[in-house]
């Protein structure tokens, strides 16, 4: 008898999930050790992976689940997921409780498993598991807003997951169980998978769950969510849609739109959430070009984004932890009180804006190269404009109004625990290392397409962007200060009109139910009365002849009774003759 499962390597995703379950089961005293051990063990399992690694479970002879397929694209994503899982684990040590820590480890495991999945079925299984785990991470803050945001998150992701499931089933019907590129096919499975993956990739108008849910999670929850869900979606987009021309424009629009929203925003974590969308737009534009540089650019930017956005979220989390405030208008002059956080945040914000010798510069170079190669001039300009928006809203706005500008209020600041500071420093060092030595970094990309970003024209281009973008900021400095209000996004459609619609619909259905109840009850009463008392048939009839047939009627005409009886008998006989002939 042969086992239905074959395995020649340990699956890093399953290792993470197992540790997540262990953290949930074992007492609180094991939490810290297991939280650190989980990414270490997953990392060890990852190092042992090679292109021959497999973990196959045969459901039937024809249907096999391939949980472990390693190629260069999957390898690059799993590598960064293991690294950021380690950094996040260090950061979260003093903050999280047992359940959240366990669920976070489990969530990381599901995302790694999505990336390593070699077939459509295992891909969708882990995709849905990641949605459930991430919902709990948002909910685990246990605030009213968090629970509501997690519910909306779950609804949106349930919609996306179902679309993806149907799309993948169609895909399986046409192309088999393997994950293949379906770019420019424009059939039903294409659109369904695009919607399903587009929800996780926060493509407008499906983007608003991100800026709605991420700021409502706990500090570490936002960090975990910001590092994994959307990046797994970028991986899926590269797998399915690399080379889909339409998405170049979608990505460019997305980058500019989210940058504008970020400029308006006052909540520091919500602002960073909009920037996740903006950066995703750049990645989508690059992968949609479909050339080697584009795919490498999207992958590289996803990886650098995980690092510098991770540090930015850690910095924002540290500010929230230390001050207890989320709004930029309530902060100011924190650089003196939180110098390490301020420096790490500044370096990462310069990195996200593409400052030379930082990681963002290296990855953006690939994106711009791919757009130039593809001949997309206007999308290229839009991506540049989005980069300027990033400069305005993060590098200048947050750094000025939160850390380095004058403070209007005297804010009390709590001491930030050492693990949080260590995690931020590690992330910042990684960002600098990638920026200084991009050749090694490019060598890890799927197509190994190495370019030299340190040309004079390229460096001057970004210096010029920094100068040109900074001038309007300082001219309109008073205008740049955010207002203590909210800006509505595409979530307005399901939080206002859809809400009213469902409200009216539910009331209508309830009223209809009541009507049906009444009508059916009165019908039953009527029938019950009349079947129970056959005299009523004749007694209450409008026809005088039928009324006169009533047995209760003493004045009935016996002649008409006889004639009616004979008449009906004759009719029955005729029908019988015709039917049984």
């Amino acid at each position: 008898m042969t086992l239905p499962m074959t395995m020649n390597n340990i699956h890093p995703g399953i290792v993470m999930m197992a540790f997540g379950i262990l953290i949930l089961i074992l007492p609180e005293s094991f939490r810290k050790a297991l939280t650190l051990l989980a990414p270490i063990c997953a990392g060890v399992a990852f190092i042992s992976l090679n292109q021959k690694s497999n973990l196959v479970y045969a459901i039937t002879d024809n249907l096999k689940l391939d949980f472990l397929t390693v190629d260069r694209l999957a390898w690059a994503f799993v590598a960064i997921f293991c690294v950021i899982a380690m950094i996040n684990a260090i950061y979260s040590l003093p903050l999280v409780k047992k359940k959240e820590a366990g669920m976070s480890a489990f969530y990381v495991g599901t995302i790694i498993s999505v990336v390593l999945a070699g077939d459509a079925l295992s891909f969708i299984v882990f995709w849905e598991l990641s949605a459930i785990a991430s919902t709990y991470i948002i909910y685990s803050k246990h605030s009213r807003k968090a629970s509501r945001a997690s519910f909306r998150y779950l609804l949106v992701h349930a919609f996306g997951g179902n679309m993806l499931l149907v799309g993948l089933l169609l895909h399986m019907f046409h192309f088999g169980n393997e994950l293949t590129n379906i770019a420019n096919s424009y059939d039903a499975s294409f659109w369904l998978i695009l919607i399903g993956v587009g929800v996780n990739a926060a493509i407008p108008p499906l983007n608003s769950w991100l800026s709605d849910a991420y700021p409502e999670a706990s500090v570490t929850g936002t960090l975990y969510l910001g590092s994994f869900t959307t990046k797994a979606a970028i991986y899926a987009l590269i797998r399915f849609f690399a080379g889909t021309e339409m998405l170049v424009w979608v990505g460019a629009f997305m980058a500019v739109y989210a940058a504008c929203m970020a400029i308006m925003e006052n909540d520091i974590r919500r602002l960073l959430s909009f920037h996740i969308v903006s950066q995703l737009g750049m990645m989508i534009a690059a992968l949609a070009v479909g050339n080697k540089v584009g795919i490498d650019g999207a992958t590289a930017h996803a990886i650098t984004n995980i690092i510098f956005k991770g540090v930015l979220l850690m910095g924002a989390g540290a500010v929230v932890y230390a001050t207890g405030k989320n709004k930029i208008t309530e902060m100011g002059g924190l650089a003196k009180k939180m110098p390490i956080t301020a420096v790490c945040f500044l370096i990462s914000s310069l990195s996200i804006a593409g400052f030379p010798f930082l990681s963002g510069f290296a990855s953006k170079a690939l994106i711009m190269n791919s757009l130039h190669e593809g001949g997309y001039v206007i999308p290229g300009l839009l991506i540049t404009a989005a980069g300027v928006g990033t400069l305005l809203s993060i590098t200048l706005k947050i750094n000025y109004f939160v850390f380095f500008g004058k403070s209007e209020n005297d804010i009390e600041v709590k001491m930030i625990p050492l693990p949080m500071q260590v995690a931020m420093i590690i992330g910042t060092i990684m960002s600098i290392a990638i920026g200084v030595m991009p050749r090694y970094f490019y060598g890890l990309m799927p197509n190994n397409d190495i370019i030299n970003p340190f040309t004079m024209s390229h460096i001057l281009e970004y210096v010029a962007i920094f100068i040109g973008g900074s001038i309007p900021f300082f001219i309109y400095l008073k205008k740049m200060k955010p207002h203590d209000e909210i800006s509505i996004d595409f979530d307005w459609f399901y939080r206002k009109p859809l809400c009213y619609f469902t409200d009216v619909l539910s009331k209508g259905v309830y009223a209809f139910n009541l009507l049906c109840d009444r009508v059916s009850l009165s019908g039953v009463h009527y029938l019950g009365n009349h079947f129970g008392n056959p005299y009523l048939w004749t007694k209450k009839s409008s026809s005088t002849i039928i009324r006169s047939l009533s047995f209760e009627n003493e004045d009935r005409l016996i002649g008409t009774v006889i004639s009616e009886a004979v008449g009906t008998f004759v009719v029955i006989v005729i029908i019988a003759i015709f039917t049984f002939r």
């Binding site: 540049t384 400069l391 100068i467 001038i471 309007p472």
Partner: protein, 168 residues
């Protein structure tokens, strides 16, 4: 150098465009109050919680406070029990007194009826002439008839008063 200036121009224009787009156009279209999404919910909740008294919710109490509170409660309960027992005693005494009064009343009444019956028999037994031989006193000079019931009750009152004083 031309490219440098070109990129400064591009970034300046794009920054200005983004600022106009976000700070003027989108600000006008998309900016709302803080409680924009929660307005309806808040109104519904306040309506639901209108009749709820927040003061009725018990606060968590420390152990030491609990002990002292328990003691005070015990004392109060004991006092209440004592009061109620005293009241009960008084009630039972009153009941006894009233029952005694009623019994004495009944006795007196029975003695009166007996006396009347004796008188009536005596009157029947005596001859008619005797009664007529006695001169009748005029009505005005007659002594006023006292109500026997009131007499008996006054007697009873006297007896109860005596009994209260401890006299035989």
């Amino acid at each position: 150098m031309i490219e440098f200036v070109k990129y400064i121009g591009i970034s300046f224009v794009s920054a200005a465009a983004l600022l106009i787009l976000s700070k003027i156009i989108m600000n006008f279209l998309l900016r709302r109050d803080l409680g924009y999404y929660e307005e309806k919910e808040a109104a519904q909740e306040s309506e639901l919680l209108k009749d709820v008294k927040v003061g009725t919710i018990e606060k968590p109490v420390k152990k030491s406070e609990k002990k002292s509170e328990d003691k005070a409660e015990k004392k109060e309960a004991e006092k209440k029990i004592e009061k109620s027992t005293e009241k009960n005693k008084q009630k039972t005494e009153n009941k006894k007194k009233t029952s005694q009064l009623t019994q004495t009343k009944k006795k007196n009444e029975s003695s009166d009826t007996k006396a009347r019956a004796n008188k009536a028999t005596k009157a029947k037994a005596s001859p008619k002439g005797k009664s007529s031989s006695k001169p009748r006193t005029p009505r005005a000079t007659r002594k006023p008839k006292t109500n026997r019931k009131t007499q008996s009750s006054s007697k009873a009152k006297n007896t109860t008063a005596k009994s209260r004083r401890g006299e035989k």
